[in-house]
């Protein structure tokens, strides 16, 4: 991992590190849902998060709005699958937490960690710590 110790920590640092420690997780990011901008991230060396962050946030937003149109209530967890990996996401208010992972990742564990992190995200947002 790129050396984070020397960098400033944010309210999201601990949760991103916890997620990134899961075997198979290659990146964890906190993204603004409305504009797709990365607020914080923890990525393996060589990964670029900006494009993926924007696309993941856009997908999550579409899921959320379609669920609202259908009267299904709030979206809790989203997963996109492809032959060589997956994207998982949870949202809370304006923020979306995105994880990029290999196919072999334990999705159940990632999901549990993400849902826990979503609660934390809500607390952070309440405290005004997103910006």
């Amino acid at each position: 991992m790129a050396g984070r110790a020397a960098l400033m920590s944010t309210p999201f640092t601990a949760m991103l590190q916890t997620l990134s420690r899961q075997r198979g997780v290659t990146a964890a990011l906190v993204v603004s849902e409305s504009d797709g901008i990365v607020i914080d991230s923890n990525m393996h060396i060589g990964q670029s998060g900006d494009k993926v962050a924007a696309l993941a946030a856009s997908l999550y937003k579409k899921a959320r709005l379609s669920a609202r149109a259908a009267g299904m209530g709030a979206v809790s967890f989203m997963q996109l699958e492809a032959p060589n990996g997956r994207l998982c996401a949870v949202g809370s208010g304006e923020l979306v937490l995105v994880v990029v992972a290999a196919t072999a990742v334990n999705v159940g564990l990632v999901r549990v960690d993400l849902l826990r992190a979503a609660v934390e995200l809500a607390e952070i947002a309440k405290r005004g710590g997103a910006r």
Partner: protein, 270 residues
């Protein structure tokens, strides 16, 4: 295990390419062991994909399992492989009758009767079909026919549970087929589709950027539902919604069935 089943199982174990899997599958089916019969039949078909009798057996197993869609497809295959196959003609007659497609049902059953005039089952079925046709102006028959031709009900046979629904969207999010009825009885399919426009493209770009290959599915959970999406041909999007209680494995299976149905329908539109 009956003696016949044991003997045939032993023969199949000795020679996995043996065609004994067909009578074995039928014997297991007669004994009500549908899952085992299905497994035996599918394995046998891997080695003998053009064996008409095997497809006929698979069709009958599909009827037993309530999968009329699969039954239709298998009997259709049988008739391509063996145009005068009596079992398939009878089966197609049965499926078409079930779908209120009486004219087609009569055609198939008449062809079966021409092959075997002494078959009482076929004679009786023909009488029923002809009687149904003379009453085809009844409201129930008219409704059945109109449902069969209305794309909003495309996924009805594949999703028998009323808590399940599916939509087929074009790249712009416009609804091609399916319906979504909300808790107040309104069809909100167009609204849902509008919010999902661009999903296929965004998902494709995300997975290509990450060198993951082309995306295969997106699943998201809401308070009351699980929604699964998959790409469909011509950059469309297939969306399936089921109740929150539906196991994810079943969601995937239903999505695959809907995808097959959607593809056949799209092919028929060209």
């Amino acid at each position: 295990m009956s003696e016949d089943v044991r003997r045939m199982s032993d023969e199949l174990a000795r020679d996995p390419s043996s065609r004994v899997f067909v009578p074995l599958g039928e014997a297991l089916r007669q004994q009500g062991q549908l899952d085992v019969a299905l497994k035996v039949t599918l394995r046998g078909l891997e080695r003998h994909p053009h064996l008409a009798d095997a497809h006929d057996l698979l069709a009958r197993l599909s009827v037993d399992r309530g999968d009329m869609e699969r039954a239709f497809d298998e009997w259709d295959m049988v008739l391509r492989l063996s145009p005068g196959h009596l079992g398939a003609l009878k089966g197609m007659g049965f499926v078409c009758f079930h779908r209120a497609r009486f004219a087609e049902a009569e055609r198939y059953l008449a062809a079966a009767a021409a092959l075997d005039a002494r078959d009482d089952q076929v004679a009786s079925a023909l009488l029923h079909v002809r009687a149904a046709q003379t009453h085809a102006t009844s409201p129930q028959a008219a409704i059945a026919e109109s449902i069969a031709n209305d794309s909003r009900y495309l996924f009805l046979e594949v999703l028998p549970d009323e808590a399940q629904t599916a939509l087929l969207l074009d790249p712009a999010g416009l609804v091609l087929a399916g319906a979504y009825i909300d808790a107040e009885g309104r069809d909100v399919a167009q609204d849902v589709g509008a919010e999902l426009s661009g999903v296929t493209e965004a998902a494709r770009r995300a997975t290509r950027h990450l060198a993951m290959g082309d995306w295969t599915s997106i699943v998201f959970e809401t308070e009351v539902a699980v929604v699964a999406m998959a790409p469909s041909s011509q950059d469309g999007l297939l969306v399936l919604a089921t109740s929150r209680a539906t196991p994810l494995g079943l969601v995937r299976r239903l999505l695959a069935r809907c995808a097959e149905k959607a593809q056949r329908w799209l092919d028929g539109q060209r």
